[in-house]
Each structure stands twice: as C-alpha cells, then as structure tokens.
C-alpha cells in the first residue's frame, strides 16, 4: 500500500496542475470571445465580396481571363497549412496534420510543396519528406490576427502563384469555427479561384464605371486576401475554442483524480489508526 506522504505529495502536484489548466481555460475563454467577434465582424465583407464577384462572373461568363482564375495543369500543388503555434488544445493540431497527411497520400503522384502557418504544422513536417517553401510562425500565436498580416500572407501566396508558372493549384487547410465545441477541418482550393457556378439567377444590368474586366481584375486579389484573412480568423477562434474545451476537461479530470486520491489517502490513514488502536487494545489485554 502506498505511503501516506507520497499520496499527499501527489495530491498537491495534481492541484497545481489543475490551477494551471483552470487559468488556461479562462484565458482561452476571454480570447475566444474576442476572436469570435472578429470572425462575425468579418463575415459581411466576405459575403458581399462573393456576391459581387458572382454577379460579375454571371454577366461575363467565361470571357474573363486572369492569372488567378485560369486553370493550369494538375501536377504541382502548394499546400497552405494553418495550425496553431502552441499545443494543449486537444486534437486541434493533430486533426489538421492528419488531414494534411491524407491530402498528401491522395495526391502522392503530384509534386507538393508546403507553406506552413503555425509552429506545430511546420515542426511536424520539417521532419518529414516534404519541401517546406515558406513558413509563418508567431502569427496565430498571439491570439489576434491583424488584417495587414493576413494581407502579407495572401500576397505572398499570390506572388508565388503568379511568378511560378509551373505551380498549378494552391490548397488551404484550416479549422473552420463551427461552435465552441466543434471545429471542422476544411480543405479548400484557394487558387486558381474556382469559377462560381452561374445558375439561372437574375442578372442585374449594371452601369460599369470602369470596364468590367478591370473591376474583375481588381476584385480577384481582394477576394483571395479575404479568403486567407477569414481562414486565419476562423483558425484562431477554433484554436481558442479547442483549447478551452480541452482545458475544461483537464480541470475536471484533475478534480476527479484529487477526489480519488483523497479517498485512498483517508482509507490508508483510517487503516493506520485502526491498526494502532488494535495494538493499544491488545497491549492492554495482555497486561
């Protein structure tokens, strides 16, 4: 049977851990609220952007051509993987990395390069057989993504795409924020921008102040920037959500462990007391 002192020490250590997980949970909860607000605030812009782009595309159909839009081959991919910088967020990073590995397996015959956003993804794939062409570390870690920073990333991706003619497609993997308890790993084609399905929707005849092709050409990069910004915001919100949930269950588990240990400790103590009483009583009887 375990030593009383050992169990006490164990309880104290678990209590310390519990305090840490509890604090982390509360920090994440506060950050989550802000991240969530930003996701919500960014939605109208993205929605309107998609709408305007769709209308333009519907009007002009396939007559628009743009380096960001035109299909190339299907051989050479760039994979943008958005993970967190920090761990202790449950399966958050593991799910992303798993999705990336599945993607790599499914496209094993293609040449794939990786652009890693977030330390966890970078560290994992640095030890694997894959060419990491770029990395952004420390971006998602501080819990707040500035629009400027997202622009840098988006422009970097577009520059790679337009400069390297052999690069056929860019995919992005990130966690979409569904709710605090739920994240969904999304694999999306970022470039070339997928042509919007032009269903039989009512087309409005616009007055174009500039030629539609010019407006379209200006709109496309902004669309890509918005997509990247949104993905980063969603990812940050998901990260905090995942960490909050993970730390909440860790705190609960620690509580259970403490209860269990306390029970064992009391039992041992009681056993020791009982033993002493028996000794005293049997000692007295022997007199």
């Amino acid at each position: 049977m375990a030593n009383l002192l050992d169990i006490r020490r164990r309880i104290r250590s678990v209590k310390n851990t519990q305090q840490i997980t509890k604090a982390m949970k509360m920090v994440s909860a506060a950050k989550l609220k802000r991240a969530q607000d930003r996701v919500v605030a960014a939605r109208p812009y993205a929605a309107k952007m998609t709408q305007v782009l769709g209308r333009l595309a519907a009007r002009a159909g396939d007559s628009f051509h743009d380096p960001l839009l035109d299909e190339r081959g299907d051989q050479h991919y760039l994979l943008v993987l958005i993970t967190a910088d920090k761990g202790l967020a449950g399966a958050f990073n593991a799910n992303l990395i798993k999705a990336a590995q599945i993607f790599l397996q499914e496209n094993a015959d293609k040449q794939i390069e990786l652009l890693a956003i977030g330390r966890k993804g970078r560290d994992f794939f640095r030890r694997r057989q894959i060419n990491i062409v770029g990395e952004y570390v420390g971006l998602t870690g501080k819990g707040r993504i500035e629009h400027e920073e997202a622009l840098d990333v988006a422009r970097d991706i577009m520059r790679r795409f337009t400069e390297d003619e052999s690069l056929d497609k860019v995919f992005i993997i990130y966690n979409e924020f569904k709710s605090v308890l739920q994240q969904r790993v999304v694999v999306e084609q970022l470039l070339p921008v997928p042509r919007v399905e032009t269903g039989p929707q009512q087309t409005i005849e616009y007055i174009y102040e500039q030629p539609p092709a010019e407006i379209f050409g200006r709109l496309l990069p902004r669309y890509v920037e918005t997509q990247v910004f949104r993905a980063l915001l969603e990812s940050v919100a998901s990260e905090h959500g995942a960490r909050m949930t993970a730390m909440d269950s860790a705190t609960k588990n620690a509580g259970e462990l403490i209860n269990h240990l306390t029970l064992t400790m009391n039992r041992i103590r009681q056993a020791a007391i009982t033993k002493e009483i028996i000794e005293v009583v049997s000692g007295a009887a022997a007199l």
């Binding site: 305007v52 409005i204 616009y206 174009y208 200006r218 709109l219 918005t226």
Partner: protein, 140 residues
C-alpha cells in the same frame, strides 16, 4: 421624401456604417458619384476620399480608401479597404504620415512602386487631416 437608401460601409474587419439615409456621395475612381433613391445599378472602384451621406438634414462624412461600391435596389454597399469615422482618426498620426510621405516624395529615388506607395499615403493622410480638423471645429 419618404424614400431612402440603405447604406452599408464594410471593411474586411468590421461594418462601419449601416444606416437608412437620404443621399450618398461616393469618391469613385472617375470622380464623385451622388446616389439618390431610385439610382440605376452600378459598380465602380473607389479612391481615397471622403464619403458623405445625409440623413434627415444632417450630413455625415467619413474617410474611405480603396475598394468598391455597388449600387442596386436602393442599396449602396461600399466595400472599402479602410473606412474611418472622423472621431476615430488620429490627427497626430496622420500629420506624421504626411510628413513622412512628403519626405519620401521630395527625395524621389526613381522607384516607381515606392513613389506610388508614398503618393497613396500622402492622399490618405491629407483626407484624414481634413476630416479630423473638421471634426475638431464642430466640437469646439
């Protein structure tokens, strides 16, 4: 006039204005465009400048920079890269930005991109300063 237009000014980060207004003036790339209820559908790029709208006789002005405007069904949607209300503008920062931009422009190095960036910065700072000064004048 009972008819009004729905004005939405949205940036990638937030919704700046969402109001029912009587008239809007937008700094479009080809010059200012005035929009009244019943305006034909329109799409245009916008440039750095002042967007103003009237609402029940009062005129409101704000700084917008870069982006697009879409008009349809008595709805004006401005997708701006930057949009600031006068009270949000940091006048001191704008003045510093103007000085910096002027310095770069006066010692022009021949770099076209740098020149364009400095020009854009100068324009933005000038609009900001103008709005900030107007705002201070009203408050006094």
């Amino acid at each position: 006039m009972a008819e009004q237009i729905q004005l939405e000014v949205i940036t990638p980060e937030r919704r700046v204005v969402s109001e029912r207004v009587d008239a809007v003036t937008v700094p479009a790339l080809g010059g200012e465009i005035g929009v009244l209820p019943g305006h034909a559908p329109l799409i245009s790029q916008i440039q750095t400048g002042i967007l103003s709208y009237t609402q029940g006789g009062a005129t409101h002005r704000l700084h917008v920079s870069g982006g697009f405007v879409e008009v349809s069904d008595d709805q004006v949607t401005v997708l701006a890269d930057v949009a600031e209300l006068p009270e949000e503008i940091d006048a001191a920062r704008a003045r510093r930005a103007r000085e910096q931009a002027e310095k770069i422009l006066s010692s022009f190095s021949g770099d076209q991109e740098e020149f364009a960036r400095a020009m854009a910065k100068l324009e933005r700072s000038l609009v900001r300063i103008q709005l900030a000064e107007e705002f201070e004048a009203i408050r006094r």
